[in-house]
Symmetry: C2
Subunit: 122 residues, 2 copies
C-alpha cells in the first residue's frame, strides 16, 4: 500500500515535471540563403533525435517565415537546466552545431515565460 | 469489414488533419505596460476557450519575453482557413478582441511553415 502510494507520487511528480518545462525559449536564427535547404534538413534531424532520445527535451518546434524563409524560429522547452546542459553534450546536438556553424548568420536566444499553452495535438 | 475499414480511414483522415494544421502563425504583440497584467488574463482566457470549444483551433501557445514582458508571442495553429474564419466569429474571440483593443500597441502576424514539430507533451 505504502509502496504503491510512493510509486503513484513518483509517477505524478514525473508527469508534473513533464507538463511544466522550467526552460522555455525562442531561438531566432538567420540562415545563409545559399545553404538554407541543407540547414533545414540538419535542424529537422537534430530536433527529432533530441525529442526522441532525451527525456528532458520536451518540445522543439521549428518553423520558417513564409515571407522570409531564411528567418527561422525554434520554440524550445526543456524540463530544467540540467536537461538543457545535458542536451548540449549529446552527439546529435554537437553534430548539428558543427555542421551548421557556417550556415547560421545570426542566433538570438530569448527566454520566455508561458502565459497559456493549450493544444489538442499529441 | 468494409464499414470498419471505412471507419478506420475516416479516423485516420481526421487524425492526419489534426496533426497537420494548414495555418501556422506567430503573432507578435506589444502591450501597454500599465495594462499588462489584465491583458495576460484576457489572453489566457481567450486561448483556453478557443482550444477547448473549437475543433479547428489546434494549438495556441502564448508567452512573454523575460527581459521585455510587454513583448508577447503567440504560436497559433488552425486546421484550415475555414477554422480560422470561424474562430474570428466566436463570442470568446470577440470578447478578447474588444476587451484588449486599447491594450495592444502593436500586432504583427507572421505566417510560418513548420520544419519540424516534435513534442512529448500532451
Amino acid at each position: 500500500m505504502i509502496i504503491s502510494l510512493m510509486l503513484a507520487l513518483i509517477v505524478y511528480a514525473t508527469t508534473s515535471a513533464q507538463e511544466k518545462p522550467q526552460i522555455v525559449r525562442l531561438a531566432k536564427i538567420e540562415v545563409d540563403s545559399a545553404q538554407l535547404d541543407r540547414y533545414k534538413i540538419l535542424l529537422k534531424e537534430g530536433i527529432e533525435a533530441a525529442v526522441r532520445l532525451e527525456p528532458g527535451v520536451m518540445t522543439l518546434f521549428a518553423m520558417y517565415e513564409k515571407d522570409q524563409p531564411t528567418h527561422i524560429t525554434v520554440l524550445e522547452m526543456y524540463a530544467d537546466q540540467e536537461a538543457y546542459q545535458k542536451h548540449l553534450q549529446t552527439p546529435h546536438f554537437k553534430r548539428y552545431k558543427t555542421a551548421t556553424k557556417d550556415m547560421v548568420k545570426k542566433l538570438e536566444l530569448i527566454d520566455v515565460v508561458p502565459i497559456g499553452f493549450e493544444t489538442k495535438m499529441k
